[in-house]
């Protein structure tokens, strides 16, 4: 019953956001600052995540495939396809659930408990349009961009790890990566990152927007935003895999 109520509140918030998304002039300034916070400021951690994901994947795949008859290029194929189809989107989303989701929930929660949201409303601002829409939009726009960055750095990291540890030469790695490269997998990764971006930012906005109970409430809503964001990412990953593949 409680979960259904939560879902209803969440859907209502999203509906309001969708309806007020036409008021571009209200959130234009906020949108760009959010885009920078979600996208530009996350580039570093996403690159780092990508490089280490790829590197670890290469080393462990090479370790597991230490058998005769399996060409070295298989490692390249496994690493690049895993990164494109799954890891670039999911791992960077999990990282961003901590970074972006927590920040959004904390920001909105603090504004809510310190009654800044009510102040906005009383000044005649549409608080959903002013606070929620730019954050969700920036998630929708920037997660795919970050997916590209994570993919490139992930494959690059895998390649570098292969070269540096001597597990697989660059040429073999790229032959495998190219041989099994399918444009559909990239598209699938894009769809995933798009969905994950929406889920993480909207859940964080919802948790922050309806925070209550002072500092403790803000902390609670932040935790819930992060945990729920991660859970929804994994759930959506499963659903997308069953639906689209």
């Amino acid at each position: 019953m409680y979960a259904l109520q939560e879902l209803g509140k969440y859907t209502t918030l999203l509906y309001q956001a969708l309806r007020s998304s036409t008021e571009f002039s209200t959130y234009r300034k906020n949108l760009f600052s959010e885009l920078v916070k979600v996208g530009y400021d996350s580039l570093g951690i996403i690159m780092l995540t990508g490089v280490f994901t790829g590197a670890v994947l290469t080393i462990q795949t090479a370790y597991q495939l230490e058998l005769a008859f399996i060409p070295l290029s298989t490692i390249g194929a496994i690493v690049s396809e895993s990164i494109l189809i799954e890891l670039a989107a999911v791992i960077s989303s999990l990282v961003l659930a901590g970074k972006v989701g927590a920040r959004i929930a904390t920001e909105l929660g603090t504004m809510k408990v310190s009654e800044q949201v009510d102040a906005l409303e009383s000044m005649g601002f549409n608080s959903v349009s002013f606070l929620v829409v730019p954050r969700v939009l920036s998630g929708l726009l920037m997660f795919p961009v970050l997916y590209i960055v994570a993919s490139i750095f992930g494959i690059g990291g895998g390649l570098m790890a292969g070269i540096l540890t001597g597990a697989v030469p660059a040429s073999d790695f790229m032959i495998g990566a190219r041989m099994y490269f399918q444009p559909w997998n990239v598209l699938f990764g894009f769809v995933k990152s798009f969905v994950f971006g929406f889920l993480i930012t909207s859940v964080a906005c919802y948790k922050g927007y309806f925070a209550s109970g002072g500092a403790e409430g803000v902390g609670k809503s932040t935790t819930q935003a992060t945990v729920l964001g991660c859970m929804f990412v994994l759930l959506a990953d499963f659903l997308l895999a069953t639906l689209l593949l």
Partner: protein
């Protein structure tokens, strides 16, 4: 830097990186143009866009499009590097490059001096991979293998039967005997190790001495050989001359046999002998006459007169 600029920069760079990365991963050249060559196969199992095109083992391009034609063949468009010219009578083979999978197109160079133009077509054939060939003959192979195993089983059963308790015992004894023999040999070897070593070392010394001797007398042997060679050459010459002489002698003998020439006459004509015979008869008579009546012949021949 304003927020708008940062966002714009991030998005632009990401899109550019995605474009380049996508082209790179699909094995399409990133900026350079290529030319396209079309080929047709009956089937293209396992071939995908981005698979590599080889010529003489060198990568020269990749597959950029695969589609079915109306004649239910498969039309494959290859993107080939600009600096590679493909003769019009070249042949494309769709083959697998690894044991398990991984398809590639191998272009075998033709000999024509005319080259395929942009979008031109070359012939293609599909080559069965090892796995497919195996799959086709799998049943047969399996039967063969199971037959072999049955025979092996029977053989083992027979062997088992042959090796009954008694035989096993005797085999065990044989092995035991061999073991004791080996032990004895080993003991002998151990006890006489010193002598054996001495023998081996002296044999070594002898061999070394022989070696030096051979080395020392090598020049002499060489000259000897050279002399022998010359002598044999001379011998050859002599035998040739002898041959000729025998030939001539033969001819002479033939002539003699035929009665030609003096000797021939001598040998073959009996008249000389008859003359001689009659002469000797006459002489005999004469001597007889002289003997009987010497005065008749020596009438005037006194000793004094004689001197």
């Amino acid at each position: 830097m304003s927020n708008e600029l940062k966002v714009g920069l991030t998005v632009l760079l990401a899109i550019a990186a995605a474009y380049i990365g996508f082209r790179y991963m699909s094995d399409m050249p990133i900026f350079r143009q290529t030319h396209e060559v079309v080929t047709e196969f009956d089937r293209v199992d396992g071939l995908g866009v981005g698979n590599v095109v080889y010529m003489n083992g060198v990568k020269i391009g990749s597959v950029i499009n695969i589609e079915l034609t109306r004649e239910s063949r498969v039309r494959v468009v290859l993107s080939i590097e600009l600096d590679v010219d493909i003769p019009v009578d070249s042949h494309a083979r769709l083959t697998s490059i690894g044991l398990l999978d991984g398809k590639a197109i191998v272009i075998e160079r033709g000999v024509s001096d005319q080259y395929v133009k942009f979008g031109g077509t070359i012939e293609g054939t599909y080559v069965d991979t090892m796995m497919e060939a195996l799959a086709d003959r799998g049943q047969e192979l399996g039967d063969d293998i199971s037959e072999s195993f049955t025979e092996l089983n029977q053989f083992l059963l027979k062997l088992n039967k042959t090796l009954n308790e008694e035989n096993r015992l005797s085999i065990g004894q044989s092995i035991h005997n061999i073991e004791s023999t080996t032990n004895a040999v080993s003991q002998v070897l151990t006890s006489r190790q010193k002598e054996l070593e001495d023998a081996i070392s002296s044999a070594n010394r002898i061999l070394a001495q022989l070696d030096t001797m051979v080395d020392d007398s090598r020049p002499q042997a060489d000259t000897l050989m050279a002399n022998l060679k010359e002598s044999s050459k001379d011998l050859k010459k002599i035998s040739k001359e002898l041959d000729q002489s025998v030939d001539q002698l033969n001819q002479i003998l033939v002539k003699i046999n035929n009665g030609n020439g003096t000797i021939g006459q001598l040998l073959n004509d009996p008249s000389l002998y008859q003359n001689a015979d009659s002469i000797s008869v006459e002489l005999h008579k004469l001597l007889k006459g002289i003997n009987e009546n010497p005065g008749r012949y020596l009438r005037h021949m006194t000793l004094i007169e004689l001197f």
